[in-house]
Symmetry: D2
Subunit: 337 residues, 4 copies
């Protein structure tokens, strides 16, 4: 079994995790090159893990002829360019969400993907690869809950992570672009339809600093889809209990709730605070398995020549909808697609 | 201890329960008269329970000089007139929700209440008297969850009750007027503010028959309040698992969820269907205690001369907001208050 | 409807609650007399509630010819004598558990009850009247869980009540007599059989003071019943989370768990401690409804001439089994019935 | 990184899973040889997975000089002999539980392990490697629940697996040896003490066939440990809801419950059966991660020269206690260690 040689760009929290997984946890892959602008960190990691190549230039990395694929976890505004470059260089590409920070950028990625049909391109909507989400999808698709009526998605970051969120607030594109895209993707996936009208509201309930970016610390949107199904999204940054990603799909014959208690494990505690479950504190803890599974799927697609379920168009569409939410929120108006 | 002599009008499901409670479960009250258009049923009940007086005419009942108070559970469109008549006759009045079926009707009740300040008037928003809701209110008011960010209220009737809902669909005023008023009241109560903008959607996901009344079998609304807090309401008629009244208040420092599992009791079952809790099947089962508590409060107000927390203005305001929701839903437009 | 005139003896915590319920919450009963050794408290309560008669002597109270019934919540060692005296005086009797503090005492009550078949005698095993226990019994009796295999009963008092438990330790008879009797009654009720062999262990895990009474702060027993079913009981005094009364019946076709989370209401809290439910803190909070229901049943038996399900023999048998548990614990030996 | 070459013996359900994991999921290991008496199955698997060597003789396999380690999942009565042979051949050994089917057999393994201190020997008590159990252990060891009072362990196989259990009943050693060993290991691990007295009961509640082997379909034991802590174990074969492995440790300052709902994932379903969670159906589903983690630990011990936490003596002690339970059950007597 020949190993797939992967070059990874970006050593932020998620990038580090992906690189570590590639270095140690996939028998069919090899972390062959790493790229990051922070040279000290780059060298420390490549040395510690015995990664053959280290680059501070992405262009140089993708020029390495031994590489088979790249995994992109760089800052969001670099995604589409790096995707296009890597495909152009003949490499399979896995990019973390979002596809791009504007719809225009997304078109660049679409073009590149269309031009290189022989290569695998996959977008990191990892929730689809979480066992519970996958199970829910399977149930819905086989009709277990009848006709979907309402999708409800909460994505709440813990208050404990607020400093990072504030530092990043000017570049993140705001709550809808940065956080709600996951729920937008899930709503489209579960409901198998596209939104036709959107209303969005929110505010700065604890952190007025977000206001200077025309953003809120908690925002929500109500959408109606072309098949009449409804979707309600909440994206927040002030959850005291942890990283709360919770999804509900109400159907005419049943309701499914995924992680309505964002429990970190199967331990229940009975003490002076009552009967309780401790919660996951961040995406790396909650979606640890899903981050493995999405990359396993990417590698398997390369090996078998299959195409992943998540396409470049899912990336564009999700970005487009997130911008419409942002527009509705900023103008305080109903927006139609 | 002199007993309060109460005359009750309406022997529908809730009216029957209230009458039965008055007849047998309140040491400080006496069910002194009953009124219903269905004479056979009326006589059957009055005889069985030993109620002194039976009337098919409301006017005749309130002319009974021995009465102290009336309890109104007649059809909604009769409420305001009956309220005004009883107050005019010098009787304390407890009326089930809604106050009236139009805002104009509500004004009639307001005037009568204002004219008779010496009498007790109370509106039956029973959820406020449920122990769990009361506890949540207490916690929120003392700041336990910080600043409220989002109120989420689900009111779902079971699919098993759909025949009754369809039969009543032409007279109910629709989902927002008939069902969502409870959540509108709760949102105002918990958030201590009034909505300023409303968007509402929905559809006929299982029962197209509701379409002829410009109504849906499941509808939802997203509102922003004057204090920036958000509220999301869902009113549905197709819940397969039972009577699902579920409320969540997300604050900056904590979240409270009331009855997120609408469990009928404290029994958990482990069998071939998994680990499960059976659910309440209707409002009489779920709010059995609350229906007692609200009437106990009414009787106590009469005895002590206090005024109930729920005022006639809560009735008008709730009706007004429900109509704005209906307008937003029917026009598919954002509505501002 | 003529009211049943009840005399209540004992103004401890539970006695006070029963007396208060009789004074204010039962339309068909009147709290006609109160008896307590503490004269100051007695007079304060009778005056505040307008109770017609106050006695410091039980004998004098039961000589009151207007009385119909007595409700006994005096110290346990007085129960059987007071039961016999009241029956002898022609009064219906409701006695709180335990029937007596020794099996010999219980025989005194049995004799008196047998002699006065025309009078109602009822023993206060209130758990049977809790809606969740009643529901579980109904399910089991109709075969919903198949053949019962194991009964598990936990009765844990909160650590916060330890001072009272220690003060009372010399007179309580110990954990098996004082606390486990409820679970012994439930096991017999649910399993419809009697134990044949018992092993019991325990210790002083937090409070060595119990050792001087040959008791533990946490004790347990494993029993096999004549129909082969098993029962495991835990009685403890050190629960940090509250008053934990939890019961499980495992059958060949299903398992029922009653109050496996001893939640005080239907509110779920999401905060820095995780996702949690607050717990009931004592028996008055947890079994508030059951204490009403058992007395309602007693009153109804008087009115209708029925006999209650809980008999005097349940009291004797439960006491007998509790003593066998105590014997097994003290001798560290297997005990056969 | 040189891969550890592992030979695996036994292609039963768990053996197959372990072999598959070694073949595809550990970057630092290679499934180098497979051994099974069923030649057809052996050849099918080795061919499909590309395993270099296939043996129907265990002795021949361990004679393969390229091997570094063996993983034993053969029938229980072969374990100790195969352990000794492999160590003698200079191979690291991982053996699934039980260590041996008699205490005498266990001594053979002990001797071999003592003689080969340079080699890694590890026993497969996988529960210790489950994230929730590991978390509970960590909490208990740092004093989060105070002094342990009671360990409760349920190990229930689903009724759906009864045919296999019956077929195997004559060779399994019975419920205590076959199933309860896991809970015995957990009790010793969590309580850090050894039992001093044991009482055990049970019966054939649904399947009389177990009676011919002096076994029951549900059995339980109550033990007291040298540090006074109590342990209650239930081992059953008739759970209708699935594979129920549930553990509780009650301490003086808190209680931990692991998997009290044996949920298969984080999806909650609301439908005609109530609000429910589906359950894991077997050990492979429930402990999928733990089976990976225990082997990862074994491989890491080989690489680093560390010794695993689970020793050969844990195997002997657990077997010894299981036999005492069996003795107590068969004789219906209290047994002291």
């Amino acid at each position: 079994m020949k190993k797939i040689k992967v070059g990874a760009v970006g050593l932020g929290r998620l990038g580090y995790r992906h690189a570590e997984n590639l270095a140690f946890r996939f028998p069919n892959a090899e972390l062959f090159a790493l790229c990051d602008a922070n040279e000290a960190k780059l060298l420390e990691v490549t040395e510690a893990w015995g990664v053959p190549y280290a680059y501070t230039s992405y262009e140089e990395m993708i020029a390495n002829k031994e590489l088979d694929a790249v995994l992109i976890t760089s800052p969001s505004h670099l995604h589409t360019r790096q995707i296009a470059q890597a495909l152009e260089a003949g490499l399979h590409v896995f990019s973390e969400k979002p596809l791009g920070t504007t719809v225009e950028e997304c078109r660049i990625a679409e073009e590149a993907v269309e031009k290189h049909q022989d290569l695998v391109f996959m977008l990191g909507f990892m929730r689809r690869y979480d066992p519970s989400y996958a199970y829910a999808k399977e149930q819905i698709d086989k009709g277990a809950i009848g006709r979907p009526v309402l999708f409800r998605g909460y994505s709440q970051d813990p208050e404990s992570a607020i400093a990072g969120a504030l530092a990043f607030a000017g570049h993140s594109g705001g709550q809808f672009i940065d956080m709600a895209v996951h729920d937008i993707d899930l709503a489209r996936w579960f409901l198998k339809s596209e939104p036709k009208s959107i209303f969005a509201i929110g505010g700065c309930y604890a952190h007025p600093e977000f206001g200077q970016y025309k953003d809120g610390d908690n925002v929500s949107a109500l959408m109606q889809f072309e098949n009449e199904a409804m979707a309600f999204l909440l994206a927040g940054r002030t959850a005291p209990h942890g990283y709360n990603v919770e999804t509900e799909i109400i159907g005419t014959e049943g309701t499914l709730r995924i992680a309505s208690v964002p429990q970190k494990n199967m331990v229940e505690i009975l003490d002076q605070y009552g009967v309780r479950k401790e919660c996951s504190q961040d995406f790396l803890e909650r979606f640890s398995d899903a981050y493995m599974a999405e990359v396993a799927e990417f590698l398997n697609c390369i090996e078998t020549g299959r195409k992943p379920e998540v396409t470049v168009y899912d990336g564009t569409k999700t970005t487009e909808i997130a911008y419409k939410c942002k527009e509705a929120f900023e103008k305080n108006e109903l927006v139609r697609m």
